[in-house]
């Protein structure tokens, strides 16, 4: 039995949804990155869905796969008590995706974190800079090709 969210998404965006599954009861939709903004807006505003919480935003590095990164959104609908996971493959050659801050303002810091640790550029983010690491840090530590024991000198702020 497919959940209402996945059904509606498939109906509304037949071309953007690449794949869906419900492993262990977690509804998941893998979508094309060009349409992420439209899809998120639809999920928030549709009367039968109303995903008003952007619970989590993160990225995963599938090193060696064709599209290396995946940006993962976890949404929650307070009214209908439903959750959905949206996954967006992002290739390394074009490591950008649209920012969703206009839809959920709390995406601001989460996107900065994903940029900081994975180097994914969120287009349209008003203040995309490092958040957990310092500005002069080189590289993105959660990428799989960053060494586990990689050390860098701590450099003071540029003035």
């Amino acid at each position: 039995m497919e959940s209402i969210t996945l059904k509606k998404l498939k109906e509304r965006f037949p071309d953007s949804i690449m794949e869906t599954h419900s492993f262990r009861g977690d509804d998941t939709a893998i979508v094309k990155k060009e349409d992420i903004f439209k899809i998120c807006e639809f999920l928030r505003d549709d009367n039968e869905l109303l995903y008003n919480f952007m619970m989590d935003l993160t990225a995963v590095d599938y090193y060696g796969k064709e599209s290396r990164f995946e940006v993962v959104y976890h949404l929650y609908s307070l009214k209908y008590n439903m959750r959905i996971r949206i996954k967006v493959p992002v290739p390394e050659s074009d490591c950008t995706i649209d920012s969703i801050i206009p839809i959920w303002i709390c995406a601001d810091w989460f996107e900065r974190e994903a940029y900081d640790l994975y180097g994914i550029i969120f287009k349209g983010h008003p203040n995309l800079k490092r958040i957990l690491l310092y500005e002069e840090f080189e590289g993105h530590p959660l990428r799989k090709d960053y060494p586990v024991r990689g050390r860098q000198p701590l450099i003071g702020p540029k003035n």
């Binding site: 492993f23 262990r24 977690d26 998941t28 008003n52 919480f53 952007m54 619970m55 989590d56 993160t58 995963v60 993962v72 976890h74 307070l78 008590n81 959750r83 996971r85 959920w104 303002i105 709390c106 601001d108 810091w109 989460f110 974190e113 640790l117 490092r130 958040i131 957990l132 690491l133 310092y134 530590p141 959660l142 960053y146 586990v148």
Partner: protein, 396 residues
């Protein structure tokens, strides 16, 4: 005189609060732009406690992640333990025995108590109510004594295991808890008398840091701060895990979403947590605390020394770690600060491919500028107290 005031040269002043400031418990830096005493601009800088939680997890076995989760929200470490264990169990498809679930509820709620007690105590301290601090720290110490008798550690508990628990509750735990709660209730009444109707305390908290419900949702608030804004969302009620659906408790909500509501919500949650622990102790069934799946959870030492299969599995799980099937899950639990969600990706090897935790105080801290802009510099202290940012969890 009026001419003088008009021509007086004034300019904004920029102040650095932190990263090592008595108020910024947990290291965090505020860049405050002031016009007189009014906050014109406010910038939060976090990351001082960043230690690469995810990178460490990706290079540990599934079992080795537990000590790291202790150090996320270090005031309520067991809730993180439980959240992580439940996420891994969901990924594998384990259902733990009934007794294990009850014990997990009991220790989670004790952790929540410790967290809320610390929060209210520290807030009182920073607003000048030192007596309230002493009372609640006494209560917290009693709770920690209880937790110490369960798992041997006061702060970094590392108590929960995948598919079970490190050990069962000690003998006489129920009676001990009763005594502790009796004293905690006395202390609660004392602090309630000292703070809830205290003019100074009310003046500092009331109508400060207001967050309307729709904005609180948009900013990703969860936990006591969201409930103070009047949104009755609690993971324990919305999507009950463990045995929370068999326990009778209420979730307090606030009216306005100011700091005073957040304080009241936390005070009431202390009572509700005590109720949950008492009910769970009454209902606590007998039986095993670990699942009977030797490939995931060690069997008892007796079995390991006498049965060859148990010995083999013990050797394999200790040296190579457990094998979790490939897949991905997200599992939310109600932490002391809000929704703690673990997003795990497994590729079938002995290590998590990705182990992400949703830190509840991360979006709360992000909303600090929204809450204090236009307020006075003195309002930063109570607002930041009630946000209850925990460096270990926010910066990971």
């Amino acid at each position: 005189m009026s001419d003088l005031a008009k021509n007086l040269h004034t300019e904004h002043m920029v102040i650095n609060m932190g990263p090592s400031h008595p108020v910024t418990h947990g290291t965090v830096k505020f860049l405050v732009t002031l016009d007189g005493e009014t906050i014109v601009d406010f910038d939060v800088e976090i990351g001082y406690l960043h230690r690469g939680f995810e990178k460490m997890c990706e290079n540990s076995t599934w079992e080795q992640v537990f000590p790291y989760t202790d150090r996320l929200n270090y005031l309520s470490p067991i809730i993180n333990n439980v959240g992580y264990a439940l996420a891994v169990e969901k990924l594998i498809g384990i259902d733990t025995p009934e007794r294990c679930k009850y014990v997990r509820v009991i220790v989670s709620e004790l952790s929540r108590l410790a967290d809320h007690l610390t929060n209210v105590a520290a807030s009182g301290l920073e607003l000048g109510a030192f007596t309230a601090f002493l009372y609640f720290v006494e209560a917290r110490d009693l709770i920690w004594d209880l937790l110490e008798s369960v798992c041997g550690a006061r702060l970094t508990s590392n108590y929960v295991r995948i598919g079970g628990l490190k050990n069962d509750l000690p003998d006489g735990f129920k009676e001990q808890t009763k005594e502790v709660f009796k004293r905690c209730r006395e202390l609660w009444i004392d602090v309630d008398k000292l703070l809830t109707k205290n003019r100074i305390f009310i003046d500092r908290l009331k109508d400060v840091g207001i967050m309307p419900p729709d904005e609180a949702i948009a900013w990703g608030f969860t936990g006591p701060c969201l409930r103070a804004s009047g949104v009755p969302y609690d993971v324990r009620k919305a999507q009950p895990y463990l045995v929370y659906d068999q326990i009778d408790f209420e979730i307090p909500i606030g009216e306005k979403g100011d700091n005073f509501d957040r304080y009241l919500v936390r005070m009431e949650e202390i009572n509700q947590s005590m109720r949950i622990v008492e009910q769970a102790l009454d209902k606590l069934p007998d039986g095993p605390i670990n699942v009977d799946m030797p490939e995931y959870r060690w069997q008892s030492k007796d079995d390991i020394y006498t049965k060859i299969e148990s010995l083999i599995f013990h050797f394999k799980t200790v040296t190579g770690g457990i094998r979790v099937p490939p897949g991905e899950v997200y599992f939310p639990v109600e932490g002391a600060n809000g929704e703690v969600g673990f997003y795990l990706v497994s590729d079938g090897s002995g290590k998590p491919y990705k182990c992400r935790v949703r830190p509840p105080c991360f979006p709360l801290t992000a909303a600090m500028p929204r809450m204090v802009k236009g307020a006075l510099i003195a309002d930063i202290v109570p607002t930041f107290d009630m946000i209850h940012m925990i460096g270990g969890e926010c910066d990971r």
